[in-house]
Every structure is written in C-alpha cells, then in structure tokens.
Subunit: 254 residues, 2 copies
DNA sequence: CGCGAGCTTGAGGCGATTCAACTGTCGTGG
DNA sequence: CCACGACAGTTGAATCGCCTCAAGCTCGCG
C-alpha cells in the first residue's frame, strides 16, 4: 500500500514519463507541462509493497517516476512468474481493470515513487469509446504505450517458450538496455539494474542457481560485465545475434 | 492471402462472433443485426495461409467466422512459438497495427472463413481517442475483447514459465473448453480440437514427442479421452486443480 | 498400391532443477 | 567494537524433465 507523500523534487522526477511518451508520439509543450504537474501529488512505496489496489479504483493510470517494479502472479504452491519489469516512465494498472481477476498484481522491487492520474470517473468513461472527451489528453499515447507493452509480452512468450536460458538472459539484458535508453537512464554500453537473481529467475522462468550460472557464462565469454547492480554490455552485436533480439519499432508516422 | 468469396450461409456463420461479444457485454438487437451483416462479405483461407496482411491496412478488425488459426512468430533457425490459438468469434489483427513490426503473424490452422470490418479510414481515426464517432459501434466490446486476450497472454506466460508439461497441457485443454463453450461449440464434457500435436507443441513450448507422451499420461490417468480431434474431459475438477486453472471473469456490471 | 502426414515408441543425452553448503556483505544491537 | 543474523551470490553433486535422434506405425488419399 503506497503512502502519500508530497512536493519534493517534483518536476525533475517526471523526466522518464515525458521522455517515454514523447518517444511514442511527440508531446506538445502543453502536454509536457501537464506531465510535469504529476510531480505535485506523489506516492511512495517500499520494496515488496503491492501497488495497484487489486481490482480497486477503476482505470487510474499510475506512472512510475522512480524505482523499479513488476507485474506478477503467484501460484498456489508458491511458484512465481513475473510478466513484466516496470521501470520509471512505465504505467501500471492500465488495462487490468474491467476484469479485475486478471489476477496480475504489481509489486515494488525497489523503493518506488508513483504519480496517479486523476481518476477518470466510471469505468465506462474510461473505455476507448467515451474517451473522446479524453479528460487527461493522452489517449493516443496510452494506446501506443499499450501496443508497445503487448509487443514486450509477446517477446517474453518467445523467450519462455522457445529460447534457452542463455538466449533468454541475453534477450532480457538487451530489452532493458533499450528501454532504459529510451528514458535516458542508460549509456551506450551499460546501465544499472537493481534486480536480484531471484527476480531474474522468476521473470525468465528459471531457477536462481541457473540464472547465476548463465550470467557467469556470459561474463566468462566476455559478452557482459557485472558488478553490483551495474551491467555493461561488452559485445551488444553478438548478444543481439544470440538472442535474436529486435528492438521495438517506434514509427510515429501517420 | 485470403481469397474473396461471397454470400453462402452468411447469417448462420456469424453466431460465434455475436455469442462471444454478447458474453463480454450484452449486445443490442441493432448490434446483432450489424454482426449478421458481416456474413455478406466473406473471405476464405486454406490451412497454412497467412491472414492479416503484415503491416498492411491500418486497423481493420477481422473476425474468424469458422475454422481455427493462430498468432505466431518464427525464429531465424526455424523454431516457432505460437502466442495464441484463434477460434471462431475471435478477432485477428486488432492491436498489431501502429507498430507493424510487432512481428506476430497470423496463420490459418484449418480452413478458415473471415469477415473484415470496413476499414476505419486513417490510422489516426482508429485510435481510441478519435473513436468516439465509433463508425462501427463496437468500441466497448473490442476494448473488453482486448482485455480478455491480454489475460489469456498472461496465462500463457505462466504456463510457459512456471508450469510443467503436464500442467500446461491440462491448462490449455481447460482454456479451450471454456472459450469454445462461450461460443456454443463445446458441450459440458468435451469439444472438437482440430490441432496437430505439432501445433500443440509450438504453443506449449514443448517438443512434439513430449506432447504426445503428456497426452498419453493424461489419458492413462483417465483425466481425458481423445480420439481423432475429439477431446473429452473426464475429470474437469481434477484437471482444474492440476493446472491451477481459473476461467476469466466476465462481469459486465458497471 | 504407394506415398506422406501425423502419431507412437525406445534409447540416450543434455539442460535445468533441487538440495545443500559455503562465502561475502551488509546493518543491527549487545 | 565485534558478534550476529539476514540476505544475495556462488559452488558442487545428484537427479529429473524434457529433448534429440531414429524407427516404426497407422491412417487417408491420389
């Protein structure tokens, strides 16, 4: 349960959101201002906290301003599968509403700062048909965002269904690098990844032990370097080849 | 490439579409009529044919009136992963548009009959924001349909990432049974499944051989019966337990 | 009749898991 | 200040689930 906070370095924190949405479709200056206004009403969550009040309020797009989170599901015997890893700029609980028992919960992986858009009223008002009024003015962006996310889910299915641990891991690192670059949180060669090997395992459908060994192999073959939470991609082209990675295409042409 | 056909038992074939959409949200008589009108302009495709012209026309919802298909992706070395199995009443190529290189192609698995809704004009006109005019009048239904499909994708991710071959197979059979019942093509105990074990394998992320042995195990334990393309669920409760299956919830309350 | 597609079966091997222990690094409190 | 526990990462050994390869089988169909 996030606790309400306030103020702080409000404007600075919204950079990831505006960078991401702008990449999907150019933002007007007015829209950028509206995003910066998100910094007014923040909420914070500690690692492990459940975000997204599970079938709670209808259709309240919530953005992650800082920190990492994930969408996941737990099986009755304790197994966990992570659907997607959420980084700053990502929206949480966007589509999970009409049927709340989609039973995907969102959980903070690090300390997280959130900003929730004003509730859009009734669920009906939030459906695409009635969104012409578009109280928040970002319907197109949210639509594109949803499409991008669906693409990531499909990538994930390929990883889990048809790729080896080695390929999966390489693929994930490339995906994270691309997404972090989009929001200005990666440099050409590497990035910071505040994830434990347990989280990687539950995302990649592997055991912790095997994630460990697979990362070792990637390091041994000098494809990556890791120390602490820093990741360096030493040979991105080869990783791309191994993982058959294809970055999403963002053509905002009409 | 589907070939255009015409007329035939037009009205009768649209039953699956209207049953499915009606389950998502009750249809008005006028809407039912509009769906029956889909029977006017049909297209047929042979097994193996590519549906959905890959980045082709923008946003033309196409419905499967009869036959089965799938969405899939091929890896460069020939491995295949199937994302979803499409049955009558399902829409194809609904979201795959703004970024065409989502690189999920749709392929017919049996003989398939399709009906394409009138193109909605420019891609922009098809985005949710501008859909207030909603030329076809089913925006809410398509939205709910997309949410249902996302839930199925998440189920699939859990299957591939954290379930055994045995659990995956049971889960798939229950999902198909539920979806076929929704469109009136399953009875209480069983249904017809025109899928080869190769298709099942590429969907479940397994080898053909292992799908075969897993189905044998389910039969040996008298949980299912299979002969030809007929499937009978002998002990649905136990299968549900094994697979941790939870059918989607369709609460069309506001 | 012969062919091909789909299904079935066996044997062997590899990838990934499980269990278990050990290391290193923190933050905390006696 | 150091002992302590908690947690993340690492390593080894044994096992198992699933894969690959390779045959043989059973249909339906030209």
């Amino acid at each position: 349960m996030p606790t309400r906070t306030s103020g702080a370095s409000a404007v600075a924190m919204t950079g990831a959101v505006s960078r991401r949405l702008n990449a999907l479709k150019p933002l007007s200056p007015a829209q950028v201002q509206r995003i910066e206004a998100l910094g007014e009403r923040l909420e914070a969550a500690a690692p492990g906290a459940m975000l997204q009040t599970e079938g709670g309020g209808p259709m309240r797009p919530t953005f992650i301003l800082s920190g990492w989170a994930c969408r996941q599901r737990l099986l009755p015997d304790g197994r966990r599968q992570i659907f997607s890893i959420l980084i700053p700029g990502d929206a949480v609980g966007f589509c999970a509403d009409p049927s709340p028992i989609s039973s995907a919960s969102a959980v903070a992986l690090t300390k997280v700062t959130l900003a929730t858009v004003e509730p859009l009223g009734s669920p009906a008002a939030a459906s695409p048909s009635n969104r012409a009024q578009d109280p928040w003015g970002f319907a197109d962006h949210m639509w594109l965002s949803a499409c991008l996310e669906e693409g990531l889910l499909l990538d994930h299915i390929v990883r889990l269904g048809r790729q080896t641990a080695y390929e999966r891991t390489a693929h994930l690192l490339l995906e994270l690098h691309w997404r972090l670059a989009l929001i200005g949180q990666a440099d050409q060669r590497g990035f910071t990844m505040p994830l434990t090997q347990e989280v990687l395992a539950d995302f990649l459908g592997l055991s912790i032990v095997h994630v460990n060994r697979t990362l070792q192999q990637l390091r041994r073959e000098r494809l990556i370097e890791m120390s602490g939470s820093k990741v360096v991609l030493l040979d991105a082209p080869q990783l791309t080849e191994i993982a058959d990675y294809q970055p999403p295409t963002l053509e905002h042409g009409a």
